[in-house]
Symmetry: C2
Subunit: 711 residues, 2 copies
C-alpha cells in the first residue's frame, strides 16, 4: 500500500467488511443504535455484529466472538466495557484488521488507571499497525455513495456535501451534524477523535486532503495533539483546501473549562500562540460557531474568487449600504462602476436607479433587470465577485429573482452570492438559489464576510512563496560555549557569552573592548570612537543599571574618566561583594528605535519567536507578535508588520523608515539559532536597535537561558 493511499486511511473511510463488537438489541443501547445506523445508512460493504448474548442483531446473524467471524473485518467498532477493549484489539490485530474505532469510555478521562489502559490500547494498535480512532468517541461517517457508512450513534445525519469535519468533542460534533441536517448543510466525512490515542487531527486533515469529495475541512479543537506537526500538516493542506478551525478554551475562563474537560496540563492562556500558528499555516480561525457555518457553507459550495473586487447589486439602498460597510471591514474592495459599464447598465434600468457600486436598481427592479445587470457585471473584468441582494417589494417574488440570478450566473466562473433579505435560511427560495450554485445568506453582512473569506483564502494561495533561509553561521563555536556552560552548571549565560553566541549567528553587536583600568578604557574609546557606553562586567551583576553599572552618552575622555570614577564608587557601595571582570567600553548606537526580538521554548509548540517595539510598547501596551520557528522570510515580514505600532517603523512624521530587511534577517537568524539549539530555553535581545533603512540593526543587550538538564 503506497504512502498516499495510506494517508487517505481507507481502512476507516472505505472498509469492505466491518464488525461491530458490542452490537445489541437492547433498547436504548449505544451498541444497538450504532449497528442499526450502519444498516440504515445503506452501507455498501458487509457488517457483522459480534456479541455472545445474541444470535442475531437487528435481523443480522450475530457472532459470539471475533474468532467466530466468517471473514476478517477491515474495520471494527468497539462498544464494550473498557477492560475488554485491549484484548479485543489484540485479537483483531492478530486477525489482520486494519482499523478500529473505540467508542467505549473509561480511559484517560477517568484518571490514572484509565490513562494506563489507554496507553496499553495505543501500544497494542501501534504494534499491529492498526489505525485507531478514540477511545471515548462518537464514531465516524462518510457520505461517499460508494461506501455510505454511518458508524456513529446519531440517527440524524446531514446530507452529502463538501464539508469534512473532525471534532475533539463528540457532543459538539453531534450538535454540528444535527444542526447541519436541519439547515441543509452537506458533509463528506466526520470523525470524532475522542481521546486521540491513535489518529489525531494531523492524520485526519491529510486524509481529508486526499478525499476528492471534501472541499473544506472543519476542525473543532480544544487542544492540539502536536502543534508543530499541525503546522506542517495544515500548511500542506491549505495549499489546496481551506481549513477552518474553532479552537476553544481560548480565554482563561474557557481554558479552565477545557482543562477540567480533557485533563490537559495546567498552563497560562496561550491563545495568541494558536493565532500565530493558524496564521502561519494558512488556517482560518472562526470566532464563533455561526461564523464557522457560514464560512463552511461558502467554501463547501465550491465557488472561489480570483480577487477582492466586489460589486453589490441591490433593489434597495439600505441593505446595499450595510453590505458596503461590511465590505470595508472585511478587506474587500468596492471599485467604482467602470465607465464602460455605465451606458449598458443605465440602459437596462429604470431612470432613478443609482448607476454606481453598490448598484441600487430601486424597488422597481424586476427579475429581468436582475438578470441583465448581473450578466453585465459578471462579464466585466473589473469585478471578481458579485453580491446580489433582494428585499421584499410586494411587486416581485424572491423566487423569480432567485431564478434570474441563477440564469445570469450560468456559464460564469465568478463568485456570486445571494442575500434574499427577509427570508430565513430555511426558505425554499434560498434552497433553490443554493441548488443553483449560489450560496445564500440571511443578512447582507454575512454574505460579504463569507466572500471576504474567499478573498482571504485566495490571497493566502497567491502569497509570494518564501523559504526558511539558512545563514552561514559558526555553529561549532556556539556548541562549545553552550557545552561549557552546561558543564559548569550555568543556566543563565553571562552576557559576554550570550553576545558571543549571537554574534556567531550573525547578530550584530556594537564594537566593544574590555578594559581593566581607566587608561585602557580611554585608549579603547579612542580606537572605537566616541560617543561610548561604559558598562561593568561581572558574572554576579545581572541588572547593571540598578547598581550604577552603566554610563551612556560619554562624549570624550574627560566624561569617560569621570563616569569611571562614579561607577567605581557606586559599585563599591551597592555591589561590594560582586566579582569584577573589568569594564566594557562600547560604541554607542544612536538614532534608532528599540525593538525586542526573542524566543521562548514552549512545551507544545517548540520554539516560539517574539517580536515587538521595546520598552512600554511591549511591557505596558503588550504590543507583541508571535510565530513558530523555523520562520519563512515572508512570515518574519508579516510579524513585523502586524504589531499595532508598526507605523513607527514604517516611517512617520518625516522620519526615514527603519531598516526592516535587517530586522527581518535578525528574526530569521534567531529562528535558525532556536532550531539549532534545543537546549536554549529562552532568548531575549532587548533592545535590538534598528536604524534607518540601509543602516542595519545592532543588538545592545542579550540574555540566553538554558533548559535545565533532565534528571
Amino acid at each position: 500500500m503506497g504512502e498516499s493511499s495510506s494517508a487517505a486511511l481507507p481502512e476507516l473511510f472505505a472498509p469492505k467488511v466491518m464488525a461491530v463488537v458490542g452490537a445489541s438489541n437492547r433498547p436504548g443501547s449505544v451498541g444497538g443504535s450504532l449497528f442499526r445506523n450502519i444498516l440504515r445508512s445503506g452501507y455498501r460493504g458487509v457488517v457483522y455484529p459480534v456479541n455472545p448474548s445474541w444470535t442475531s442483531v437487528s435481523g443480522v446473524r450475530c457472532y459470539p466472538t471475533l474468532g467466530a467471524l466468517p471473514e476478517v473485518p477491515e474495520l471494527a467498532v468497539l462498544i464494550i466495557p473498557a477492560p475488554a477493549v485491549v484484548p479485543a484489539v489484540e485479537e483483531l490485530g492478530r486477525l489482520g484488521t486494519r482499523g478500529v474505532v473505540v467508542i467505549s469510555s473509561g480511559f484517560r478521562e477517568v484518571g490514572p488507571t484509565g490513562a494506563a489502559l489507554e496507553f496499553e490500547l495505543a501500544e497494542t494498535a501501534r504494534r499491529h499497525g492498526m489505525t485507531l480512532v478514540g477511545p471515548n468517541c462518537f464514531g465516524l461517517f462518510t457520505t461517499d455513495p460508494e461506501v455510505s457508512l454511518n458508524a456513529t450513534f446519531s440517527e440524524t445525519l446531514p446530507a452529502s456535501g463538501g464539508i469534512g469535519l473532525v471534532s475533539q468533542s463528540g457532543a459538539l460534533g453531534a450538535g454540528i451534524l444535527e444542526y447541519g441536517a436541519a439547515e441543509r448543510v452537506g458533509f463528506s466525512r466526520f470523525v470524532s477523535v475522542g481521546n486521540r490515542a491513535g489518529v489525531d487531527e494531523n492524520a485526519l486533515i491529510a486524509s481529508l486532503h486526499a478525499d476528492p469529495r471534501t472541499r473544506v475541512i472543519i476542525l473543532y479543537l480544544e487542544s492540539l495533539a502536536d502543534g508543530r506537526k499541525f503546522l506542517e500538516a495544515a500548511h500542506a493542506v491549505t495549499e489546496e483546501k481551506p481549513i477552518l478551525v474553532i479552537k476553544s478554551g481560548r480565554t482563561a475562563a474557557g481554558e479552565q473549562a477545557a482543562r477540567s474537560h480533557t485533563g490537559s496540563l495546567a498552563r497560562s492562556n496561550r491563545d495568541h500562540l494558536y493565532d500565530a500558528l493558524f496564521e502561519q499555516a494558512g488556517v482560518i480561525r472562526a470566532g464563533t460557531l455561526g461564523e464557522l457555518f457560514r464560512a463552511a457553507k461558502i467554501f463547501a459550495s465550491g465557488i472561489r474568487t480570483s480577487g477582492p473586487r466586489l460589486a453589490i447589486l441591490t433593489n434597495s439602498g439600505g441593505p446595499g449600504i450595510i453590505a458596503a460597510d461590511a465590505a470595508a471591514r472585511t478587506g474587500l474592495e468596492l471599485p467604482a462602476l467602470p465607465e464602460r459599464l455605465r451606458g449598458p447598465v443605465a440602459a437596462s434600468l429604470p431612470p432613478i436607479a443609482s448607476v454606481a457600486n453598490p448598484l441600487d436598481m430601486t424597488a422597481g427592479a424586476d427579475p429581468s433587470h436582475y438578470r441583465s445587470v448581473l450578466g453585465l457585471l459578471l462579464g466585466d473584468e473589473g469585478f471578481d465577485a458579485v453580491l446580489v441582494i433582494t428585499t421584499p417589494t410586494g411587486t416581485v417574488s424572491a423566487r423569480a429573482v432567485a431564478e434570474a440570478i441563477a440564469a445570469a450566473r450560468r456559464g460564469s466562473t465568478k463568485a456570486v452570492v445571494g442575500c434574499l433579505f427577509g427570508l430565513t435560511d430555511l426558505s425554499e427560495e434560498m434552497a433553490y438559489l443554493e441548488g443553483a450554485g449560489v450560496p445564500a445568506f440571511t443578512f447582507p453582512e454575512e454574505a460579504v464576510e463569507a466572500l471576504g473569506l474567499l478573498a482571504r483564502f485566495r490571497s493566502w494561495q497567491q502569497r509570494p512563496r518564501t523559504e526558511v533561509r539558512r545563514f552561514a553561521v559558526d555553529r561549532d563555536a556556539v556548541r562549545a560555549t553552550l557545552t561549557s556552560a552546561r558543564t559548569e552548571g550555568t543556566l543563565i549565560l553571562p552576557e559576554f557569552a550570550a553576545r558571543g553566541v549571537l554574534s556567531a549567528y550573525g547578530l550584530p553587536f556594537p564594537r566593544f573592548e574590555r578594559a581593566r583600568s581607566v587608561e585602557e578604557a580611554v585608549r579603547s574609546a579612542g580606537s572605537i570612537g566616541y560617543p561610548v557606553v561604559l558598562k561593568v562586567a561581572s558574572p554576579d551583576i545581572s541588572h547593571k543599571t540598578e547598581v550604577g553599572g552603566v554610563a551612556a552618552g560619554l562624549q570624550d575622555a574627560a566624561e569617560l574618566r569621570s563616569a569611571w570614577e562614579r561607577m567605581r564608587k557606586s559599585l563599591a557601595a551597592r555591589a561590594p561583594s560582586a566579582r569584577l571582570d573589568g569594564f566594557e567600553v562600547e560604541a554607542e548606537v544612536a538614532g534608532g528605535k528599540e525593538l525586542l526580538v526573542g524566543m521562548q521554548r514552549d512545551p507544545d509548540f517548540g520554539p516560539v519567536l517574539v517580536f515587538g517595539l521595546g520598552g512600554i510598547y511591549v511591557e505596558v501596551l503588550r504590543d507583541v507578535t508571535f510565530r513558530l520557528a523555523p520562520i519563512r522570510t515572508r512570515s518574519a515580514r508579516r510579524m513585523i508588520e502586524s504589531i499595532r505600532s508598526f507605523p513607527l517603523l514604517a516611517g512617520v512624521r518625516g522620519e526615514p523608515p527603519s531598516d526592516l530587511a535587517a530586522v527581518e534577517e535578525a528574526i530569521e537568524r534567531v529562528s535558525q539559532f532556536a532550531v539549532d539549539f534545543p537546549e536554549v530555553q529562552e532568548l531575549d535581545i532587548n533592545p535590538l536597535i534598528v536604524r534607518p533603512q540601509g543602516l542595519g540593526v545592532a543588538a545592545v543587550d542579550a540574555r540566553i537561558v538554558l533548559a535545565p538538564l533532565s534528571p
Copy 2:
C-alpha cells in the same frame, strides 16, 4: 392635550378615524394594497378611502374629495402624486386632521425641485401643527390590540411583541419585518421615517418610550436628523428602555485641509463620533443585523439581569467551553461554583459530572437532572443568570429538556437563556422554550453575547449618576478677547491670547513673564525659578521651533543669557521680517506625560471633545477618544480610561499614577468653554502635561481657531 400625551403621538398610533388618500382597486397599486392591509389588520377605528376615480374601494364607500368625508380623519395616509401632496395636506390641516403619513415619493430624493416641494410640505404641516411622517416612506403599523393598524404596503407582518422599530430605509424596515415574521420575532410598532421632513427618530423614540408595549427600541439609521437632540432624547429613554441601533454608511473621509490635530482626528474618525455619541447616550450599537436580532430578542423577552455573574449548565463539555470563552469576551463573569452548592449539586448528578462552572452534567443527564440542578443554581445568590445548553445525546429529547428548564425557571426572576444546540431557531422546541419566557439561541456564543448585553444595559442603568459640572470662570474676559479678535478679523488667536482665554476658564499654564531685554529675562527667571523655557513672542511666527524660537531646559542665568543670544541670531537669520513682541520666560514643567485635549465643532454633532496621549500616540497610533460636549464627570473619566495607552497614565513599572482627576477637570473645563462660545471652531491644548497624582496638569501650548463669520 398635555405634554406627555403629545410625546406619545396618539395621532399616529391610536387614530380613531383615518383616511387613505389615493386608495384604489387597481391591481398591484400601492394605494390598493395599503388600504386592504388596513382592513385586513383588523383596524379598530374607521377608515375611509378617498379617490375621485372609485365609488368604493375593497367594498368600502369611497369619497371623491377630502371635503366630502362624513367626518374629519385624525390621521391621513397619502399615496398620490407628489404635486398633489401639499394641497391635500393644506386641506387636511384646515379640516383639523392631526397626523399625516406621506407614502408618495418625488421629493428631496429626486433633486432640488423635489427638495423645494418637501420644504413646502414640512412648512404646511408645521403651520397646522400636524405630525408628518415621510415623505417617501413605507408607512407605519402598531400591533396594539386596541388599535390594530397596518398602514404599510407589506402584507407579511410579524406577530405582536415588544420591539418598536424605526427605520430610515423603507426596504430595510420591510425586510426586517418580513424576517421577523418568518422567525417569530414580535413587534409593537414600526415607523418608516422616509425623508424625515416631519417626525424623526428623536420624536419617535420618545413616543416608543411612552408606549408600555414596547420593551426595546430598534433604530436603523444612515444619518442622524440631529446628533445633539438624539443624545438628549436617547439618554432620557435609556434610563428605562434599551435602544439598539444599526448605523450604516460611513461618511467618506473629508479631504478638507486639517488646521489642527484635533480637527483632522475628528474628521478622519467620523464613525467614531457615532460610537462616542451612542456610548454617551447608553445606546447599544449592533455591528450586524444578526447581532441586532439577537439583542432585540433577549431585550424584547422582558428578562433582565441584576449583574454579570453567569452560571453555565450543560450536558456536554465542548459547547460549555465555547460558552465560557464567549463569556470572557463579553465581559461576563463565571464565578466558581460556591462551596454550599457542591454537595447538593453532586448529589443530584451522575458521578462523572463536572461539579464546576461550566457545570457539565455529561451525556447521561436526563430532564430531571436539568430541573433539579437549574433549580439549585437559580436559588443561589452567587449567580445573576444561567445559560442552559443541551446537545443531542440520543437518549433525551430536546423537548423534554425544554420542559424541565421551563419548570425549573417558574417562579424565579433570574435571567435564564437556552441553547438547544443542533436545532434551528425555527424548531418547535425553541418556540416552546421562548413561549415559557426563556429566550433560546442556536449557538452557545449567541446566547452568551445576548446575556452580555443584558449585563451591559444593567451596568449602564446602575452607573454612578454624575452631572455636567459648571466651574466659576471669567466668561466676560473671554468674550472680550474673542470679540476683539473678531473685530480685527483674526481667525487664529495669537498664542498669548489663547493662553489668556483658557486661563480664564481655569486651565493652568506654567507661570511666565514677558521680557524685552536679556536683563529683564534674567530677573523674571529669578523670580519664576529655574529651570525655565525661553520663547519668542511674535504674531508672525506660528511654528517657533522651526526658526529657533524656543530654548528649553535652561538651568541658570548663564544658560539663559547664552540661549537669548543664540535665539536672537537665529531669528535674525530665519525670520528677519517678523514683528517681535519680546520674549517669554516660562517655568519648565517637568516630570509629566504629554496629553492632547481638544475640541472640534462638528456641523452635525456640535462641539466634539478629543482626548489622547500626545505625540506619536495620537499622531501615529491614532489612540484617541471622542465625546460630545457638554460632558459629565463620569464620561470624562471614561474618556480617559478608554484609550489603549491608558495603562501609561494609570501608573506602570513603579511609576506613580498620573493626576487623573486633574485631567478629568481639564476636559470638563474645555467642555464648558466649548459650550459657552459657539464661535470657537477648534481648540487644541497640545501638550497638556499631566504630573503625578496630586500635582495637577499644566497646559504648555494652546491653539484656538474661530469660525469664520457667516457672510
